[in-house]
């Protein structure tokens, strides 16, 4: 019996070097991006009200956000600490991954009157960059449609407090808006499916 069990060990040990690879390829876009999902949802479709959906952002939008987190230009809690862990090549690969994911529509409680008001304003003031009701973005403009209202409000507060810098083109328009107008816009974008 002793010998037979030893044999099992030898057989397993011999087979073992085949299974466990000594040389693995560098992390793929999936390897890098799946790790984000614990906070941002599977394939970047967020269920958490203060966490943005990353799915379907353009690569340029994702890369711009990550680089600003990394440099500290964009304020954050954990994102700055995490973004520093990735090279430009990593960030580009993750940008490709999230750009390929399907748009993530959300169902959330919004104020119908605000949505209507916001829709008119968005068409007039925002649609040049926030294309197709915010489902797409020009260049590095992020996807606004269906983002959680809580998240949008937190970002608006960061803009209004000066902690997050707004693109000049956006500031020209945003700064003219009343508090109510701004809120209406957020309700509108949150409602778009």
């Amino acid at each position: 019996m002793k010998m037979k069990i030893s044999l099992v060990g030898v057989v397993l040990a011999a087979g073992f070097s085949l299974g466990s690879t000594a040389h693995a390829a560098p992390p793929t876009a999936e390897m890098l991006s799946y790790a984000c999902a614990g906070c941002h949802g599977t394939n970047g479709a967020s269920a958490g009200l203060t966490m943005p959906t990353l799915a379907s952002h353009s690569k340029a939008a994702f890369v711009d956000a990550m680089k600003k987190f990394k440099s500290g230009e964009r304020p954050s809690t954990v994102m700055g600490r995490l973004a520093k862990g990735y090279t430009d090549a990593d960030i580009n690969a993750m940008g490709d991954f999230f750009a390929k994911q399907k748009f993530h529509p959300t169902t959330q409680v919004v104020d119908a009157a605000k949505v209507k008001k916001g829709a008119d304003m968005a068409e007039e003031a925002c649609s040049r960059c926030h294309i197709d009701d915010g489902k797409e973005g020009k260049d590095d403009t992020p996807v606004m449609a269906s983002q959680w209202l809580e998240y949008l409000k937190m970002q608006a507060e960061l803009y209004d407090s000066g902690k997050r810098k707004m693109p000049d083109e956006m500031a020209k328009r945003w700064n003219k808006l009343s508090k109510e107008d701004r809120e209406a816009l957020l309700h509108f974008y949150a409602s778009v499916k």
Binding site: K4, I5, G19, A47
Partner: protein
């Protein structure tokens, strides 16, 4: 030798109805065939390749889901003893009275099964037979091509004299969320104002490095609000706070100075359930009205029985790329049970490890090259009802070891300037990670 002979016999021997004599009649890799023969197979394996996942927690549920997401031709059977899972992360908030029941931290598996075709088997795993590639459960044997073990932790009770099952009902550990969590909460509610709560923490490594300190916060918060004459004493086996140290100390000073007392290098080795006492290194005795004993830990018992633990007899060494056990072929170990280098034993680490493992398991099964790991840990600890602190890091593999990426990661600012935001973000962390596991 890959296989420890003693544990091999133990594994086989613990399979119900298996005669050890049967082992000797077999040769080579077929040695364990009797285990299969004597334990009736449940879910007989067809022609499809199969991954079996043991455990439906932060690691297991994600591993099962991602294997299916990556390759629908691979059958996945996830074996979990309960029909639901209660999260340890955020369970301290329930203990502190910030959550009225465990519903927000409880998940079920029906959507995971329906959305991804994961076959969920509710059963207790009683043995693993690596040679026969079979898992023996309370409901029958299940064969696998590759096995992913995410068994969590069990306690090293031999290092905590007197802490048996009966003692746990008097002095709860609440380190596996569920009935124990509720018991600790009830004891705090029943305690008189002016009582003493004792929390004991084990030497690292253990599940959730900041967990004991967050628990101290949540218990202190409850007592401060409802029983302000009470005291909380933490007896920590570690020489000093072993996670987010400066942040926790500031939190205690600013919020709980009159209630909470931290005592480092106080290793509790014995308990006296009758009088609710704990004994430090066999000498000093400390008595409490409520005593929360967090014992030293090791990988879940089934991982020990399967011969997966390393020289330390406690944790499972793994290949840092595939999370395949270095002790048993075709068995991968993730989550708290494994040794994942710099990655802490946290829920988020288990989630991240599960995905790394799933990707490389699928690659190996398809004869494709494996991919170096890239992982994340993000972990929040509550300090007050609306303040939390965090640790976050990105992990990579370097010279065969999992390490944090240099010049990245870290903890919250020491001035607590982000603590209110982090308490808000932490709720989305919970929502997303539990949604990921359950849909």
């Amino acid at each position: 030798m890959t296989l420890d002979r003693r544990s091999f016999i133990k594994v086989l021997g613990s399979a119900s109805g298996l005669a050890l004599a049967g082992c000797a009649t077999q040769g080579g890799s077929g040695a364990a065939a009797p285990a299969v023969g004597k334990t009736q197979e449940i879910l007989p394996k067809g022609s499809a390749r199969r991954v079996v996942v043991v455990g439906g927690g932060y690691g297991g549920a994600i591993a099962a889901k991602y294997v299916r997401m990556l390759d629908k031709s691979i059958e996945v059977v996830m074996i979990e003893r309960n029909d639901h899972f209660v999260s340890c992360p955020f369970s301290n908030l329930y203990i502190g009275g910030l959550m009225k029941d465990l519903n927000p931290i409880t998940i079920r598996y029906d959507k995971l099964a329906a959305n991804h075709g994961v076959k969920v088997l509710q059963a207790e795993v009683t043995a693993v037979d690596p040679a026969a590639k079979t898992v023996v459960t309370s409901k029958g044997a299940v064969k696998y091509d590759r096995l992913i073990m995410s068994p969590g932790i069990d306690f090293r009770l031999e290092e905590m004299k007197g802490y048996d099952a009966a003692a746990m009902e008097i002095m709860p550990h609440a380190w596996k969320a569920g009935p124990q969590t509720i018991l600790l909460r009830k004891q705090l509610e029943a305690m008189k104002d002016g009582g003493t709560v004792v929390i004991t923490a084990p030497l690292a490594p253990y599940r959730c490095p900041p967990g004991p300190y967050e628990r101290a916060n949540m218990i202190s918060l409850y007592l401060k609000q409802h029983k302000p004459k009470s005291k909380v004493i933490m007896l920590d086996a570690n020489p000093d706070v072993s996670s987010k140290g400066a942040l926790f100390k500031k939190g205690w000073k600013d919020n709980y100075a009159n209630i909470f007392e931290y005592r480092g290098a106080k290793k509790v080795t014995e308990v006296g359930a009758k009088n609710r006492t704990v004994i430090i290194e066999g000498i000093d005795e400390v008595k409490g009205d409520v005593v929360n004993v967090i014992p030293p830990q090791r990988a879940g018992q089934i991982a020990v029985a399967a011969g997966l633990v390393g020289d330390d007899k406690n944790w499972c060494p793994v290949n840092p790329t595939t999370f395949e056990s270095t002790k048993q072929k075709d068995i991968h170990v993730i989550g708290d049970a494994c040794i994942a280098g710099a990655m802490p034993k946290s829920g988020y680490s288990a989630n991240s490890e599960a995905k790394i493992c799933a990707q490389n398991v699928v690659a190996l099964m398809n004869g494709k090259p494996t991919t170096d790991m890239s992982g994340i840990n993000v972990c929040y600890s509550y300090v007050t009802a609306d303040q939390a602190i965090s640790v976050a890091a990105v992990y990579t593999v370097k010279e065969g070891k999992i390490v944090g990426v240099p010049n990245s990661g870290g903890v919250s600012p020491i001035d607590y300037s982000q603590a209110k935001s982090e308490a808000v973000y932490a709720h989305s962390w919970l929502k997303n990670i539990l949604t990921e596991m359950s849909t």
